[in-house]
Amino acid sequence: MRKFLPLFLIVFLGLWGVLSSGTNSGNRKLTPITLKDYFHAPNMHPVIKLLDEDGNPVIKTGKPVSTRKTCGQCHDYDFITSAYHFQQGANEWDVEWGNKNKEVGSISPGMFGRQYDYPYYHMTPPDWKKYGFLFEYGRPNWALQCGICHLGGGPTEFSFSGKRLDTIPEGQVKEMDPDFYYWDRKSNVFRKWDWKRSGVREANCLVCHTPNYSKGIQDQRTTGHGMFKVPHFSSSTSAGLITTGVVEKVTDDGRVIYNPRAFYPDGRVKPEYLRITGSFARKDACLQCHAAPVINGHVNPWYNYPVVKTVNRGVLRKGFVWSGKNISQIRDNIKDKEKLNFPWDVHAKAGLECLDCHVMGNTPQSSSFTEYVKRPNHNFGKGHPLTWRVRTDLDFTVKRCGACHDAEKEGHDWLPEKELHLKKVSCETCHMPRNHYWMLNSFNFAFPYTEPFSKGVKVERACGDAPQRFTILGVKGNPLTDHNAEITGFYPLYIPRNLEKNGEKKIVPYGVTFSLHWVDDATGNRVYFSQILNAFFVRKGDVWVPKKEVLKVFDANRDGKIDDEEALFDTQEKVALARKLLKAQGVKDPQLEIVAIPNTLVHNIAPKEQAIKSCDTCHSDNSRIFNQGKYSRVIFDRPVLFKRSYIYNVGYRGIEIARVKDGKTLWTNEYLLKDYHLVGALAPESEASRALKAVEVLGLVVLIFTLAGVLFHIMGRVIIPKK
């Protein structure tokens, strides 16, 4: 024993030294704990009981978790879910909304009810016959197909009349009531949904406030895919808890088998299983729907891939990757990535999170802490989107660059006409010079895919169960099926837009997707998808096949299928046949439209060294602002015979944004930028640019004649003999 004593003492003293140095705060700087750190502490949230819809602990009843009851113990559930993120226009719906806002067919300003191009759908309002609607999308359609992103509360909980859907007595349900009926596109029949069986979708608070929660499994439970055979709504929140260990299994009839080891005897859930975050959501909460994260060195464009094979909307709409990692570190096949030694987004690298700019409607500082805990305002700061008009009273509440940066003082002295540039050009125009990922370029809804339904990879299952004809921008090949497809990235398109309240319009970069579709010019309403299906196709068994007369005109290579290129309306014969067939379906005056769906590119901000500094990027014949030369955007590789084009916003209706040139259908922002003059840049074809071209030609002629006159005069003085 004695011989081990020195060793024992050394070990003891060593340990004592290490431990004492660790607690010797006098020698170390203490990092103050911020409010944010405090709320990010995983166990900040109290240990809670999970309650079912009757308010009983779920561990005792085996029923699904009700967030209304569980979270509603301390938080004002109805107040929280009144925010636009949950409602998506459902609390602003008005059957006349479309007529009032020159968007015939829309019944709300948001995702619930406004016509949008992915999905291409008409939301059916109550008393739809009275208002001249056809029945297309019922509320169950929306819950099933839009529910992957829209995780409950609002439109999937309450009816048009504001009643909870699973409490409406059977006797009160009218025939073809859009709260209950839905269109099954596969079988082309209308069915009635049983809300009592499926339950309603209460807001899924856990998907954002529980770090190890699985959105993918709750998606499967909602839509009846993967490990589930049938859709079920009320158990979808519980299903996502499988990955936390709180839930072991969810049955197809909606019963939930909880893990008893995850619960204390009194029904509370042990924090090591359910680590609900505090005030702030989990760090990747927003990315689940809005942007692609980088996982294991790969950009992940999917929602919870491979659980749900649906592309993230942020990628679809603008190639939005949110990561502080350098692009060169990414293992995906990104063209010339070795040269891209800078992060996907400088703000991500700096550790900013979504709520730093998309600020909450209230904070512990802006209201009392008790009030904040009770009624946290989930109306996150929003900009002034061209595409969406939900809760426009909250526009401009997002923090813009000026909240942290002063462009007047920070490093712009080199810029000629600094004041003018800062006044007319948004920060992102130069600081987001190129997107290095891919996005959707165009849809052809005028001639949809039908057979087979599973052909190709569906762009977004949430966007209807009919696959869509689409093209992708910024990649060689199809990145949805080929994970080694070379990603080339894309240049933004530029649209004038005011980004600040009472601010003037600036040039803003946009990710724009284009949609080709039919509209009934007699009513202004987009042609219903069901009318297009029935016009061009016939049902054979479980599938839709093109009519013979359609094949005769469209199927150029006679392979019995309508390929993507064949489906474009590039000949008068195709348009004439389609118009005839659509008229037979009751469309009075079918016409083709191209619509631009713009999404601001305000993320993916490059480091200042990568910002545009070369004047001729914009001030030259290849001006990227006017989208000329290499910046041109091809909408369709064929000359589509559309009647009109416009951009998705009431303010810009009537402004043409597409033109046919050199056998292609191209984007043009000439009419959007008609008041803009860029020194050295020749605007695309227009009255103004033609006038300038004429001036150029005349000016050159004058110069040449002057020079020739001078030369002749000199010759005369030399040649003609003097007196």
């Binding site: 004041e419 003018l420 003059h677 103004a688 001036v695 000016g699 004058v702 001078v710 000199i714």
Partner: protein, 200 residues
């Protein structure tokens, strides 16, 4: 040979400031209007163009003061016999000059412009120069003058006028310099504009 003091110092100073400025403006307009030529950095070209543009504007004010307060305007006023003189001058430039004939007009104090120069310089100095200064200032201060620009048809219209006028200036400059070489000797008119003295 008798010599007349035709161009006082004030006239010569504004003329040469103007001459250098207009030349620089035309030269810098090329890389601004055709930046892809890349022979001068666009920023440098813009700064030089702005500097000489402002100099011309300032110089034009001196010109107007000289014109109206010191009586130079009388050189531009039509006189009897201008019609005949115009025909004579035209004949001289179209034929006589080739045959080595003497120029029919000799500038004198108060009558330094011939009947062809009067309307030509009037158009240049009272239409083209002010128009170019005005449109140039609007383009330079486009942010501040936005409402005025819009009321005049927009920046593209203003810019198109500025460019069209610039071509005329370039042609005029070429023509003016060439005619400067048609004196008794190659440098005669240049010397006149430097010394102020012209032969009787």
């Amino acid at each position: 040979m008798e010599r007349n003091y035709v161009y006082p110092a004030s006239d010569r100073i504004w003329h040469w400031i103007h001459a250098i400025s207009i030349t620089m403006l035309v030269l810098t307009a090329i890389p601004i209007h055709f930046p892809s030529l890349r022979f001068v950095d666009l920023k440098i070209a813009v700064n030089i163009h702005t500097f000489f543009g402002l100099l011309v504007a300032f110089d034009f004010i001196l010109y107007l003061i000289n014109m109206f307060f010191y009586g130079s305007i009388k050189n531009y006023l039509p006189r009897s016999g201008d019609g005949k003189q115009a025909i004579m001058m035209a004949k001289y430039y179209l034929w006589g000059i080739f045959r080595g004939e003497e120029e029919p007009f000799h500038p004198k104090p108060g009558r330094r412009l011939n009947a062809l120069q009067k309307p030509a310089y009037f158009v240049v100095m009272f239409i083209m120069v002010p128009l170019q200064i005005f449109t140039g200032l609007l383009i330079w201060k486009a942010a501040e003058a936005e409402s005025l620009i819009n009321s005049l048809g927009g920046l593209r219209t203003i810019s198109t006028i500025h460019i069209a006028n610039a071509y005329l200036f370039a042609a005029y400059l070429l023509f003016h310099i060439y005619l400067g070489t048609t004196g008794k000797t190659f440098w005669y008119f240049f010397k006149v504009m430097i010394t102020g003295y012209a032969d009787e």
